[in-house]
Amino acid sequence: MPHYFFHVRNRFGYVEDEEGSELPDLEAARARAIDGVRSMLSEEARAGEIDLRGRIEVRDPAGALLLTIPFAEAVTVHTGPPADGSKPGIAA
């Protein structure tokens, strides 16, 4: 299986992934990156401050950039007036 490295750049700086992960293909790497972003943002949400300005760079073992996932693309954010209270559940 190919080896992918997931480097994170955000307001805390550049976090290099020295170990990487073996995954079946680039789509699996994309899913892994998105899951990683959501994991970090969920903790930021609990701390009360979310910064969507970071990104994950997915690179191959030679260092070539394969994918960039901006944090903002990993989540859908709904803002604006409150959702209609008559509709049950979470606003879609």
């Binding site: 997931f6 994170v8 805390f12 976090v15 290099e16 992934d17 170990e19 992960s21 892994r32 990156a33 899951d35 990683g36 972003v37 994991s39 970090m40 903790e43 609990r46 701390a47 994950i56």
Partner: protein, 251 residues
């Protein structure tokens, strides 16, 4: 064929003696357990979920984990086992595995037949109590993991695991709490901590930048134990080691 494997069994005896006082005959019975040694490559499963097992798995060298698995293949590790631990002593009385056991790194294990453990437990009631206490220690560690995963930040969770492993390795005579062998990948650490590898990596690098922890090859170094223990809210009482040893832990 099964053989007597005194040296690895002495590691398990050491673990028992940290929680139970045992007479000479009881100690000899543990060292005389018939068992079979096996080498397991990294990332290989030793016990699969749902397996019916007829022997216990004693870690001689390396690092093993108990795990559960979701339908999409994702795993949650529920315990880490170091040399001297039996990963599944409870299987003697509950042989259908509602857990899996995986070698996290190249690992040597001893398979100790349930029949042997039942025999020594019936011949020596003191050993039966010691086995009971041993499984309770694992349950206590598991309960602490629930609290960590349910209530703590990524940094506090990882800090607690590092403190736990440091103290356990020190108790087992396998290192110092502030510097010990810990051959685990980011992905495995993520599976243990209910996080993702990306999140673990970012958190570890922040801790490294904060001079709390350093991974040097297969060794982890904890530079500021007291600060790490405060971040983790670490109190070694949950490891359930006897008073004499606990004084050593608290020293």
């Amino acid at each position: 064929m099964t053989h007597s494997n005194q040296k690895p069994l002495s590691l398990f005896l050491g673990r028992l003696l940290r929680r139970s006082e045992l007479a000479q005959a009881e100690r000899q019975a543990v060292l005389g357990l018939k068992s079979q040694v096996a080498q397991v490559r990294a990332h290989r499963d030793i016990v699969l979920l749902g397996d019916q097992v007829n022997s216990c798995c004693l870690v001689v060298d390396g690092l093993a984990a108990r795990f559960d698995q979701l339908a999409d293949g994702r795993r949650q590790l529920t315990a880490l086992h170091i040399p001297g631990d039996i990963c599944d002593l409870q299987s003697v009385v509950a042989p259908v595995a509602s857990w899996g056991i995986e070698a996290l790194t190249t690992t040597t294990v001893l398979h100790v037949p349930h029949a042997e453990l039942k025999r020594v437990a019936s011949e020596h009631p003191g050993l039966a109590l010691a086995f009971w206490r041993d499984t309770i220690a694992d349950a206590s560690i598991l309960a602490k993991w629930v609290v960590n995963l349910g209530r703590k930040s990524a940094q506090s969770r990882i800090a607690h695991l590092l403190c736990e492993m440091g103290v356990r390795m020190e108790q087992a005579g396998l290192g110092r709490r502030a510097a010990f062998a810990f051959d685990i990948t980011q992905n495995q650490l993520a599976d243990a901590m209910g996080l993702t590898a990306v999140h673990v990596n970012r958190t570890l690098q922040a801790m490294r930048g904060d001079a709390l922890v350093r991974f040097a090859g297969r060794t982890v170094e904890l530079h500021d134990w007291d600060r790490l223990a405060r971040i983790a809210e670490f109190d070694p009482a949950f490891l359930q080691v006897m008073r004499g040893e606990r004084e050593l832990v608290d020293a």
